[in-house]
Symmetry: C3
Subunit: 676 residues, 3 copies
């Protein structure tokens, strides 16, 4: 897809207002005023498109499409599989999911279809094909939006059978499967395929190898369903890009835990995702949260190493957080621009207009129940629309990072499922957010990548808490460092292989060589336990985990202060081939990470050339156009802030000259281009 | 029912002691000594009345009835439907409830019958009729007590069918239903009635309109069952009053959440209820709790605007609170008198005698396991019996309030079910308790009423957080104020109509006119967020919610201190017609409510003429006899307190003269009559 | 069993490594080095012993047994019933458990077989007999280990039927049953046996007599299954002792709540149990936790009044605590020796070697994934092996206590299930731990015994919170004190009989006589409520419970300080016959218990003759050999400690002379023998 400008739009549900032509007319008026150029439609329209089995009704959608087109608004058209009509559940109960206890769910909610059900697949084929055939030539059609926020799982007999087939393909023989799952433990050996059942809280749930494979199966099964959905669409509209909206998990904004998006991303033409941070909350600073947004934006951008789309966001508040607080003045502009700064080519909202009833009627929208343009949310959106128009040139532009932070879904699933360490303090993705924070504070661009990515393009790879590392990745890390790369790793890394089987005979040889140490014990702390790391007379707090290791060739940077391992190495540095391996033995507070990575950055010489004197509250991100760079300067604080940069610029938003000393008002954002 | 004196009695379970004539004899002796004039019997006697299907055994009950009568003790006779015999569940499983997951419950506990089951209804008809026929002329028979603490719900196929019938009656067409439930959202449109299933956590639970209708249906279904129960009883004993015991919910003493008692109250001859406050707890003062008791007593008195009955209370402690602490000396007298003061014509206990086994053996009772009159609980009860004899003249007397506080079950269900705002801080009924507190502190009588009540009789209507207001109520409020009424309303009011559909095009026109403002945004706070309201140099803390509005004709009383709406209106007052509308924009602490309502009371001129100088720990309530007023003065504190009243009186309890300055000992209660 | 030396060994799972002869060989080498003399095998080997129905494979086990024998390692051989092969669940679903909601569980985990299933019983008979026949003469065979950690319950139709049969045997007639369960309450009378169903959260759960009988039935049913398992084994190997491993419950180390081990102990030849304290946690001191370990060791030793076996323990950490922290240096020796000091004749580990996969791969083991002898855990184990060799003489030796603390499973179940008092603060076993603490602090040996034990051998019986006491025990206490015994009892004692029916007509006569008081009321405190007991100018804090009583013949030792019972008796002492009854009215902190029992100890003259000046952090326990006593001195603290003893000794571990003033390093243990 070659996009000409930044998409500014929203999920639009005209199907809720078909009996209100005045509302539909008002929608168009207000869209124009708000600078909307895109509408996402059809997502939950199955009941309107096929009100009874086989009775298809497209006229209303024709009219919506035409009207949008006439008003220069492009359409992201959704397939309706995320919520099926009631008649289908009633007539074909197999389309309903079965939960992990074996209970057949009833009709209700959404995102609740069995991915295996032959009937559901057939019904989806029919409706998707009809939609694609009807609108394949429609000039408003910009992109396909397949279903909505894929997630969840089904344990029905069809899915059990598919799981077994998946396992047969993966393992060929039961002997392989038993060995990989270590089933002799507790006499769990399987002697025929049909003995295998999906993980269940009232059945098997402690065979970690199986649990891990189940998660992989669920990803593959979901992608298979997605591929089923797009089959005819791709055939009928080979030039229209296809996406589906990804998600973050919980308010901590960690990656969605249900699906391996590294796999899924290969199947979409453009990555799009839905972002709902809890701005202005009472447990973290605005900069704390902004850094988390940066982290996950960078992950989803890195999935395809190309600009992504922000598919959903709220212009104000959501309705499903424990506390649903509205964005303060300025925050909508700032938070919208942050996504663009990290590589988004869109700013799309859920939702255009609040519904009158049902569960999302209080979810923020461009148009409120007051149905007018007078409230501050509408005005905020209008201003964002205006601003985006001024920076359309960044559309399609790239970002370039010399630092890669590794996040791995497999490792995440495996460590969370593991029995051991401390259940409360594993927090693998949160630990990555903490490491990322240094780079965000220092305006150093970062990719968040898979261990399977090409590492050679990075000067520094950061891979903390990588519990699961398969043999080939061990070799890869070894090659990377030997060839001159710099690798940071930490406690609880390299413990198990891809089947969650521990490495035998000690820590993997490759890691021992890279880091010049041998890890021998992971000390687990109670919540109130503390220790300290001593470095050059400085001392940094240790909590949660402390790894003990024998030092072989490594240089000891820091040592533990207390306990039976007082004086032993805690932080090391090792030359290996042309590169270096750095090892962080313990979990610390942010102070240590800042200290440590400042040192690394000096060593590896990665810093932001543009920013002379940065500011932890001000984020600087850039996008590289063919011949120049555009800098986004964003003040994520409630007070005035200052930074110093290396050259004078022009602010594309205000069109004003900007000096090298830049003063930022609270929540202010500037988009700077160097003066010619 | 014209009652001659205050009922003093208890739930009596002689069926547990039929093999112990010595116990039954002792019961009568002790009842006489304790001043008991009423016994409630038969509530859980089905297994004794019909030990096997069709085998009816009434002789034991005849004997109990006769003995009670011979000893001048009247009988409140219960129907036994609250717990059926095991043989019935075994033979007819359909009588068992089905829970919301579709699981058929097993036999056990109580209050667990399906309200729809034809067999259960038939069995209830038979036993109720037999009881009524047998005792219709019995001279001991004072009143009917139908079943016990109706509550809960069933999701079996019979109930599903009844729910659908109810909906058909309510909406006539699916088109109406779909429009009212806004089912186009998430493709939830129903195209045939049999697609509708009751709300379920494993099915549909986010169609708020349906959830609300389900609650209404459960109320109607329960009342229908109750009407089924009383059909023959009414025919056979047209002059015997019928009641069933209502409840409060949780230890916070908020109204029972399961049923709309405004509807139910129309079907009983006298309202009766069961009250179990956690006196002497460690999270609130005695006055805090007493005010909550006052609130709910006033609500249940207001249901029929006539004296109610306290059907159950404990003479000491209960067994089902997290902590079951006994009443301190003096508290039993004080707490008993409080109900009388608020309009009760009875002081009845659960239970007369502690059982030896099963779940309620440690629930407080008049007679303990020691089976004698020596313990302090028995003596406390005896003293209450003596005291009630001295104030029998208040029986049947009324209370008159010029203030009405609005509580609405529909609005409560709808706001609790809504997704939005902050789940933890909705607390609608608790907010009403806070507003009530001012009036309780200042001894101003209050009715707690439905929005459907006749408002014209009140000088002041207080209606905070009235989330759901139907069109006709909007008009009613308008008329009320236009005609000279004073109305207080607050944040989160008038948001949705009776189907939980939001009002379109802004805040309802009627409210805009009454209050002279237009509400535009409700700011939702995180738990640690605070703001302040400034009034005349005073400042009051704001938490949880702050509503922002455009001021039109209103006079601004108070403004916000901070945030982006600093300086904007928070509290307003508006002339509308002959009356006034007051609007409270934010949730505050008690200090503000005291300040605000003190102002209102001066404006509206409602104060207690008798109390010259009151005391927040001393509650004064009165009942109006034909020619005079009786004042209950109650010290809800652990120290001596003083109040000043406008005239000298006589204490009916001590028969002593009382000066205008009244000194109250800890927990003391006086019942005063002006000297002739 | 006459054991010659202390068993030092571990659960050994060679079946997980049959394809790795190098590992099996390494195992033997490392066992020799670690001083291992015992291996527990076969526990989860059913899938290897009978991989398909009727296909038995013993060769691998033959080989393991032979190799162990050749290396002087004895075998504790387990029956494999704790985890069955998948083929069995698939073919015979009846072997799976049904939970209390009636859901059939699926295959998975372990400890999940129905105890009633005829097929499971048959399959167990076959495999157990085959094992016994094959190894009955094997010279390595030391002991039988039946199944593993019996626990849980099944609610299938077979179990329902067995429950009913059990009840018929217990009660003969429904009339008896109804009377004992007080079923007239809530019309729960049963009129035919088949109406009775097991307790269920979706059925009956408030008939406390039934709940209590269900727990008794589960114990009897489990023992019946165990007896079924050992039938042929006993016949085939009459001289090989049989055990099964008991457990503690939760990290508080209270007795396992699921089974009455007093009953079960009668069926085993030697008591063995699995102990997993959370050493070095952050909520209690090391001495706090050590005292709890002492308590439960003393309970399990007292079950048969003979040495027990520590069947499982970790050499380092577990994997299932919320936080899994490794033992600090010194703790493994100290904690191992503590069990020996309290009467264990073994120190056995779970597990010999960490598995590579599945749920227990991170549970501590002698051999880690590094597969070598270099890590500190292996070295700690080796040192323990050496030390045990030095004290083999204690094997089989007894302990003698003059103090008995009563713990009763029935009473524990009944009080926990009771509705009343305060749900959070019942804590019956924890209260016993608190009383025990005094004796532990003061190095006074204690037995923990059943109320059915022979009391006459004790000078002091401590029986706090004995909620349930049957009639015969009442008489027994009476006789015990009358004959010169000293009995301490407390609040909430003697409330109900063996059917959880309260005693009528006041506190049991026997207790009134023993203590010279009549208990009349139990005051229940909210968490923040406090009172004080005054004794001789000292004052001790009261919380949770305060019992009020009339004093008859008793001497009042302490009185309450506050509330309406200020000045009333709180602590009393009474002469009854030749003995004394002491009554503690309220729950206090440890200070009072120390004060009180110091007084009692002086009165009863029980003190440790060897310890002149003890230390609350240093535990002294002794084992009595035929002609001498061996003292274990253990410093459960992180600092140096001192004690003074009555004679000079030799430390068997260091073989050094020890003076009467003994200095103990942190975590140090000495095993002292008086110099000849």
């Amino acid at each position: 897809m070659v996009q000409e400008k930044i998409l500014h739009g929203a999920d639009y549900n005209p199907d809720q207002w078909l009996d209100r032509p005045d509302i539909l007319k008002k929608d168009i008026e207000l869209m124009k005023e708000a600078g909307i150029n895109t509408a996402t439609i059809g997502m939950f329209s199955w009941d309107k498109l096929e009100p009874e089995e086989g009775d298809f009704q497209f006229e209303w959608l024709d009219s919506i499409m035409d009207t949008l087109y006439e008003n220069d608004i492009k359409v992201i058209l959704a397939t309706p599989s995320a919520a099926r009509p009631a008649w289908m559940s009633k007539k074909y109960p197999e389309v309903l999911r079965t939960n992990e206890r074996g209970e057949k769910m009833r009709h209700g909610g959404r995102h609740n279809h069995c991915f295996s059900s032959p009937i559901y697949r057939k019904k989806v084929t029919i409706i998707n094909k009809k939609i694609a055939e009807r609108y394949k030539e429609h000039p408003a059609l910009l992109m396909w939006h397949i279903s909505n926020e894929y997630g969840g799982e089904c344990h029905c007999q069809y899915c059990q059978e598919n799981f077994r087939s998946w396992l047969k393909k993966e393992y060929s023989t039961l002997e392989n499967l038993n060995a990989s799952w270590w089933t002799t433990f507790w006499a769990h050996t399987y002697t025929s395929w049909d003995q295998i059942e999906s993980p269940s809280s009232i059945g098997e749930n402690e065979v970690h190898g199986m649990n891990l494979d189940w998660r992989r199966f669920v990803t593959d099964q979901t992608i298979d369903f997605y591929e089923h959905e797009i089959k005819d669409i791709r055939k009928l509209t080979p030039n229209i890009p296809i996406t589906t909206n990804f998600m973050a998990d919980t308010m901590d904004l960690i990656p969605f835990q249900g699906l391996d998006y590294y796999k899924f991303a290969k199947h979409v033409d453009v990555v799009s995702w839905d972002c709902y941070p809890a701005w202005h909350n009472d447990w973290e600073t605005t900069a704390d949260l902004a850094s988390k947004v940066g982290f996950i934006d960078d992950l989803y951008r890195s999935l395809k190493q190309q600009p992504f789309l922000l598919m959903e966001s709220t212009p104000s508040m959501v309705n499903w957080h424990p506390v649903n607080k509205a964005k303060r003045p300025g925050m909508h502009m700032l938070s919208s621009m942050q996504h663009i700064a990290h590589g988004s080519d869109s700013n799309l909202y859920f939702q255009w207009r609040k519904s009158r009833g049902s569960s999302e009627k209080f979810h923020g929208a461009v148009v409120d129940h007051d149905n007018n343009n007078q409230n501050r949310v509408f005005q905020d959106v209008r201003k964002v629309g205006e601003s985006l128009e001024k920076i359309n040139k960044v559309t399609g532009s790239s970002k370039k990072s010399r630092v890669g932070i590794i996040y791995d879904w497999d490792s995440n699933w495996a460590i969370n499922d593991s029995q051991g360490f401390s259940q409360e303090t594993k927090q693998y993705p949160q630990t990555l957010q903490n490491h990322y924070r240094f780079f965000w504070n220092n305006d150093i661009p970062v990719d968040i990548i898979s261990p399977k990515a090409d590492l050679s393009q990075y000067d520094l790879i950061v891979a903390p808490m990588l519990y699961l590392i398969d043999e080939s990745s061990l070799d890869k890390f070894s090659t990377y460092v030997a060839n001159g790369g710099n690798l940071v790793m930490s406690y609880i890394s390299g413990v198990v292989n891809e089947h969650d089987l521990t490495y035998m005979n000690g820590w993997p040889q490759q890691l021992q060589e890279i880091f010049g140490i041998n890890s021998v014990e992971t000390d687990v702390y109670y919540p109130k336990d503390r220790n300290r790391i001593l470095i050059d007379g400085k001392s940094f707090e240790v909590k949660d985990y402390a790894e003990l290791f024998d030092v072989k060739s490594a240089h000891v940077i820091g040592t533990y202060d207390e306990d039976f391992y007082a004086g032993q190495a805690a932080i090391t540095e090792n030359n290996f081939g042309k590169g270096k391996g750095y090892f962080i033995g313990a979990r610390t507070n942010q102070e240590f990470l800042d200290y440590f990575y400042s040192y690394i950055c000096k060593e590896v010489q990665i810093c932001n050339d543009f920013v002379i004197k940065g500011n932890d509250n001000v984020s600087v991100q850039s996008r590289k156009l063919s011949n120049k760079e555009v800098f986004f300067i964003m003040n994520f604080s409630e007070s005035n802030q200052k930074i110093l940069v290396s050259s004078e610029t022009v602010d594309l938003l205000s069109e004003k000259h900007v000096n090298v000393e830049i003063n930022m008002l609270p929540y202010e954002v500037k988009v700077l281009e160097k003066r010619e």
